[in-house]
């Protein structure tokens, strides 16, 4: 890795460790908006890796962020095309996910006995009732192709653009609760499951942790991840429907297990907190300094700083300003963030930039230039 790469990596790492840096690093949280900022339509770019690569590279060449949460590899849409069915609706307006249910609550116990076989023989069968071996062959080839694309574009960003990735693709931890929330039971049912099927849900969560999450995490922690900003990554999304008591009983224990393993291995984690995490902030109090970056979305980041002064925070730049404000308003707010959040801050958009009107190019250019040149 080149000099610039290592400088950027060190800048991020110093902020993760809560050290003072004169310049604040800018981590781009742009996802599908990168395509809206290009010459391509979203439906065509997600299916054509050459076009996606052009969109993503063009984005970097326009803005030159220090690092990226996504470099166009997030949605392996062609895998689902090969299988003939998807919950994703991708149009010129954006990407929407249809809430779906693939299992009944009475099946939690069966799931816990063998998650892999349950997923294959029940969930896949239900979602793709007409799929045969030949479709699986085609879909697996697309999955491999997508992994190759991910590796190839990752290599370009490291070698040509000297941009570190936030984390390695194999180092993503999915909290077990999220698996049921996003994949098998859906938002609509998790409220019921947290009350009516609490014990069975916890049993399935623990099985998912032991059989899928921890083996993957232990492997990831044993590998060299020194080229990434953080060693691992986790997104917490569905926790926001739980009361504090439910969060403590159902969600947090598995997250704590993961964080304890991380601490033991002396590794770091980037945690994206969708929605509002402030009501659960007490749970994050005991995380050792330098272990975690908390990227907050809808919370007032200044309030989060007061509650969690010892943790590196990321996010803060309001997407509603980037989409609706003037360049000067955006720059003024960016300055406020950098001046007031102190040490241990990674500048980024609070929400993922996903839809066309989420951002105006002139605003993003102005903010990017300001953050690059401003010194504390």
């Amino acid at each position: 890795m080149g000099k610039l790469y290592n400088e950027k990596l060190q800048l991020f790492r110093d902020n993760v460790s809560m050290k003072h840096t004169d310049r604040i690093p800018y981590l781009s949280n742009a996802f599908t908006w990168k395509v809206f900022d290009s010459e391509f339509s979203l439906p065509e770019a997600v299916r054509d890796s050459a076009k996606m690569e052009k969109a993503v590279c063009g984005f970097h060449e326009r803005y030159h962020f220090d690092a990226y949460m996504d470099i166009g590899a997030r949605n392996p849409v062609r895998v689902l095309d090969a299988l003939g069915s998807s919950y994703y609706e991708i149009t010129d307006a954006g990407l929407n996910v249809v809430d779906h249910v693939l299992m009944e609550p009475e099946e939690y116990t069966e799931y816990a006995k063998n998650p892999d076989l349950f997923g294959w023989t029940k969930l896949m069968k239900r979602k793709f009732p007409d799929v045969k071996g030949k479709h699986i062959e085609a879909a697996l080839m697309e999955f491999l192709g997508h992994a190759n694309f991910t590796g190839q574009i990752g290599k370009k960003f490291v070698e040509e653009y000297e941009c570190p990735s936030v984390y390695g693709g194999a180092n993503v931890v999915i909290p077990p609760y999220e698996y049921f929330f996003q994949t098998t039971r859906g938002i609509r049912n998790m409220g019921r499951d947290a009350r009516k099927y609490k014990e069975q849900l916890i049993e399935a969560i623990n099985a998912q942790l032991e059989k899928n999450v921890l083996p993957g995490l232990k492997y990831a922690l044993s590998q060299d991840s020194s080229m990434y900003v953080c060693d691992t990554y986790m997104a917490i999304i569905g926790y926001g429907i739980l009361s504090e008591k439910q969060f403590g009983e159902i969600y947090w224990p598995t997250v704590k297990t993961v964080l304890d393993l991380l601490d033991k291995a002396d590794k770091t984690m980037y945690v994206f907190c969708e929605g509002e995490m402030l009501r659960y902030a007490d749970y994050f109090q005991d995380i050792p300094k330098g272990r975690v970056v908390l990227h907050v979305e809808n919370d007032d980041i200044f309030e989060v700083r007061k509650r969690l002064p010892g943790l590196c925070l990321a996010g803060g730049m309001k997407v509603e300003l980037l989409g609706n404000g003037t360049p000067q308003e955006c720059v003024d707010y960016a300055k406020k963030l950098i001046d007031e959040l102190g040490d241990g801050y990674i500048f980024s958009e609070n929400k993922m930039l996903s839809f066309k009107n989420d951002c105006k190019r002139e605003n993003l250019l102005a903010v990017r230039e300001f953050v690059r040149d401003y010194r504390r």
């Binding site: 929407n96 409220g191 019921r192 609706n324």
Partner: protein, 208 residues
């Protein structure tokens, strides 16, 4: 005859199976208690609302309560008789164009119905033209717009603009959902915004 206090408590405690059992008994007995049973469910939803405000229940519980309420209406609907009092008021609710999320909308709808409102639900991904057309046809005076995605605010503005262009200045518009705040309310030109279902009910009660 069923125990209506037990029914109210079952809904308030989110005891879905017990509530269902009692409601089925109402219908098995010919439905004579249907209206009173509906009222008991509504009182149960009031308990849910109080517990939400106190922090004991949270969003997941509101979603669950909404599902229980929907099922209750479904079980009782053939036996419910609209009395002379009728509905407190009629409101239109929908998720705006390009947004597919409906859980928040459904929670608000359940609580409004529990509070005695007649709710015209246009579903998800609702174009502004359809909202305006329905408001004109049904002579509705309150429009509730829901959305979760950042683009929902633009869609909400389009609705307000089209309502005003159609001369429907006396129609009250309230917006709600994750991207909604004071600034969004100002930008869209809506009359109010709500952070939770209880606020929505309070606005609707004030506007009828």
């Amino acid at each position: 005859m069923v125990d209506l206090t037990r029914l109210m408590d079952a809904v308030g405690e989110l005891e879905e199976d017990e509530a269902r059992e009692i409601l089925r008994q109402v219908m098995e007995e010919g439905g004579a208690q249907a209206n009173e049973a509906m009222e008991a469910c509504q009182k149960g939803m009031d308990i849910v609302g109080e517990r939400f405000e106190s922090g004991e229940y949270f969003v997941g519980d509101l979603i669950y309560a909404g599902e229980i309420m929907q099922e209750s209406v479904e079980i009782l609907k053939d036996a419910i008789v609209s009395g002379e009092g009728g509905a407190k008021g009629r409101v239109l609710i929908c998720t705006v164009k390009d947004d597919l999320h409906d859980i928040g909308k459904n929670i608000v709808k359940a609580i409004l119905e529990a509070s005695g409102f007649d709710v015209v639900d246009l579903g998800i991904d609702t174009p502004p033209e359809k909202i305006v057309e329905t408001v004109q046809k049904e002579q509705l005076k309150i429009v509730l717009l829901s959305g979760v995605l950042t683009l929902a605010v633009d869609s909400m503005k389009a609705v307000v603009d089209q309502l005003r262009e159609a001369g429907l200045d006396d129609v009250k518009v309230l917006i709600g959902g994750a991207p909604v705040n004071e600034d969004a309310c100002r930008r869209t030109g809506a009359d109010a915004w709500a952070r939770n279902p209880q606020d929505t009910v309070r606005f609707c009660q004030a506007w009828v």
